[in-house]
Symmetry: C3
């Protein structure tokens, strides 16, 4: 995709200084941009790069006063960062939209319906009786089992696996290698010390606007649904066990694990490599620091915890500060004991 500076300026309602016929075909950071790239300048700290950049065009503030001559064409707007973000979104949307139609061979079972303007990549598999919305992108090697529902505008990247009966909302993004609906880890101990599988016949439900990172796994419920509510964003390699519910607009960073039947609130922020035990409840707006282990229900909205096991964030920091000095503290105590 190639655009003229003129076209970009019109899109952003900006004013051009320099060559309005210059062509740009990619977006780049001002300090790395080369010929054919469009960059932006927002933070004044980066202004020196404006005079040396190889970019063909730079989006700048309409208030910027140049200190030296600039070889790139300038597009002046009121908020360069916001304008650039808008372009990034157009760019990514255009890339996705360019994927359309069906690449053969692709498999689709009986009774499945799929909306207009979709993409199904080669070696993608859709089972029986699925209902899939419009503008859906299903990349190569994706697996969609039977009786799956997928809303409009959802994108499923290469090799994601959706077990039968999964429900995915609209405007969701599932990255490569995501697994939705694998069996919950339920095994009943037997008198002889072996384990018998507890059948897991529930499903996974993602509401609208949910994003799931690469190779993250979400188990189906034993019965009923494991649910990820609207707008929640989950990073890579996260484990969500059976019958968990994660509230709306919650963010979960990479490699965190949530055990069975726990309920996570709305607007929580859970950092990376956190572990949460089963059958507890985490209040809305809870923040959990990285590598924490949460073993108890959090009742108060807005709680900030850290540590394994996790407790109040500040109290944990103070305890850790003393932890480092434990050998000295022990020595002091021994010295005192001898003195007496």
């Amino acid at each position: 995709m190639e655009f003229t500076v003129q076209q970009i300026a019109e899109l952003l309602q900006g004013k051009i200084e320099g060559d309005n016929a210059a062509k740009v075909s990619t977006l780049a950071k001002i300090e790395e941009a080369q010929n054919g790239a469009l960059a932006f300048l927002s933070n004044p700290k980066y202004e020196p790069y404006l005079y040396t950049t190889g970019a063909s065009a730079v989006i700048v503030s309409d208030k910027l006063e140049l200190k030296k001559p600039v070889s790139a064409a300038l597009i002046r707007v009121s908020d360069p960062y916001s304008s650039f973000s808008t372009l990034l979104q157009y760019y990514q949307a255009a890339l996705l939209a360019s994927k359309t139609g069906v690449e053969e061979p692709a498999f689709i079972g009986s009774g499945s319906e799929i909306g207009d303007n979709h993409y199904r990549g080669a070696f993608s598999y859709i089972g029986n009786n699925c209902k899939i919305g419009a503008n859906v992108r299903i990349f190569p090697q994706v697996y969609v089992g039977d009786n799956v529902t997928i809303g409009d505008n959802t994108t499923i990247f290469a090799g994601a696996k959706l077990y039968s009966n999964t429900i995915v909302g609209s405007n969701c993004t599932l990255h490569a290698g995501v697994v939705l609906g694998s069996d919950g880890f339920g095994f009943a101990p037997q008198p002889d010390g072996s384990y018998k599988m507890v059948p897991q016949i529930g499903n996974v439900v993602l509401e609208d606007d949910v994003s799931i990172g690469a190779n993250t796994t979400i188990d189906c419920a034993t019965m009923g649904s494991t649910i990820i509510r609207q707008g929640t964003k989950i990073d890579n390699l996260v484990q969500i066990a059976h019958n968990v519910e994660v509230g709306k607009h919650t963010v979960i960073a990479a490699q965190t694990g949530i055990s069975g039947s726990s309920k996570i609130g709305n607007h929580c922020v859970i950092a990376g490599q956190v572990g949460i035990v089963g059958h507890i409840t985490i209040a809305d707006k809870t923040t959990i620091g990285a590598q924490s282990g949460v073993g108890k229900t959090i009742k108060k909205s807005g709680t900030i915890i850290q540590g394994s096991p996790a407790f109040d964030y500040k109290q944990n920091l103070r305890a850790l500060a003393v932890f480092r000095k434990l050998p000295e503290l022990q020595r002091d105590l021994e010295a005192l004991s001898e003195k007496i």
Copy 2:
């Protein structure tokens, strides 16, 4: 699949109260069940739901005395939970059995044999000289390398990858995205500071009745075999390194990692996000708490440990209790020092 209450009652050898022609097509929790669903009542705490449930039929105890009228058909049995479990198992087995035959295109190399009544999903791949038993379900996009052996009644869900020479027993379940047989992480440091790969030519062996969770990875041995013994159940996103042996009927929860050449005993319970260093031995019936780091051999059967590094569970709890109060402890010590 739709059944009458009569059919279910015959299967469970139960007595019907109410409409024996009522039809059920799904299983659900009594508090969530709707028309067409079959539920059960075991825990007396849930009895109030019996009088309000939307279920078409409910399995109840033959000793239950009704306090109000019930709209659902009742099936009376001696142990409702056990009867319901039996139905769940039938249900899941029937779902799997409904997958049969070969969906084209599916790839099978030369010299490979596969038993009766199997399923091979579209885009599944089986290499050369494989021996695969009867009643095996190989879902779409599964990869089975060369010289792989798979026992009867094993199910391999979508996209699992089995490198060449892997051996999988009977009645195993491998979930989506499982990787068996990737190279062990062995690199010999060279004089120039670079690393040279140590070839990994061994394999992975799963004995019978083993279950492996989604996106779990098990590396092949350098030579010989990485072994998971009979009946062991492994959750999602677990890492098992080269030359590890895990004993029989051991349970390993999500995101745990076991380093190279360690031997885990029989009947162990390893919680989530545990790390176990290489070249150690864990005795039978050891229990390891979540997020623990195990750095030393455990010799005594029945040991319970916790912490990073892990030590006796109760001792760890006591130390953690003081850890939280370290700032106060430090203050007390300073106050005492000043006094003297």
Copy 3:
């Protein structure tokens, strides 16, 4: 593949004692080897196995003096371990080389080029405008997006997923389920408490001689590149976030996570289940112990740290030693207080 002892001896420039026509078709440990296997004896501790091994041939030192008769053919060389390693490498290389040609159906988009002597497995997918070198092995169900570059002699095992614009060097190994180029986890909080995706339009760059373990995920940069430099080896289930740079010849063990924009030095050793926060720098030759949480920049080359949060390795060990005795320490302090 079957060889005579004569052929192996010629390859290793060794001297034969015994049956030079004996045939070997596999490599094994001396204590496990059976008929048809070739083993080696390097560590004198294992010499007793020499007299009982079932191996058809054993590589031994030219200085070894036999204490009993040996049934296996012997191949005498100056350094048995090194000779055996050489054979292992030949063996693995021969196995890979035996995969050649294209198994149909395999998908390749328009404008893509691929060098001589390559393998493309069934159900592998290559997008548009890719440049792929010679001697490349692309196993079944691999996904390669558009505009991807892959160097010579690189092997990509089954089901790995490379998003569009990924660049992979020569002599790299990507294991099954690897994901390169998934979106960085960037979401801008909105006034209403929801999150808006920050488009991620960068890519992932692996330099030459990089190895990536099974189901590891590496996110693309927001803009620019997430970079893994030459010779670095990454284990299974590792998470590398957007805009991270990992230096040359660094080793990262399983289940470690590195957050966005951090820079890891050359020749570092990072153990398993480590977490590294975003936007920090780790000096060259840093060693980080297992399960550590690194929250601050490490400036000094050769630093060894451990703990969560991580600090000096020895200091951490000393603090942990006191941690275990905290209940006693508290008791001593209380006793002392009462005394005064």
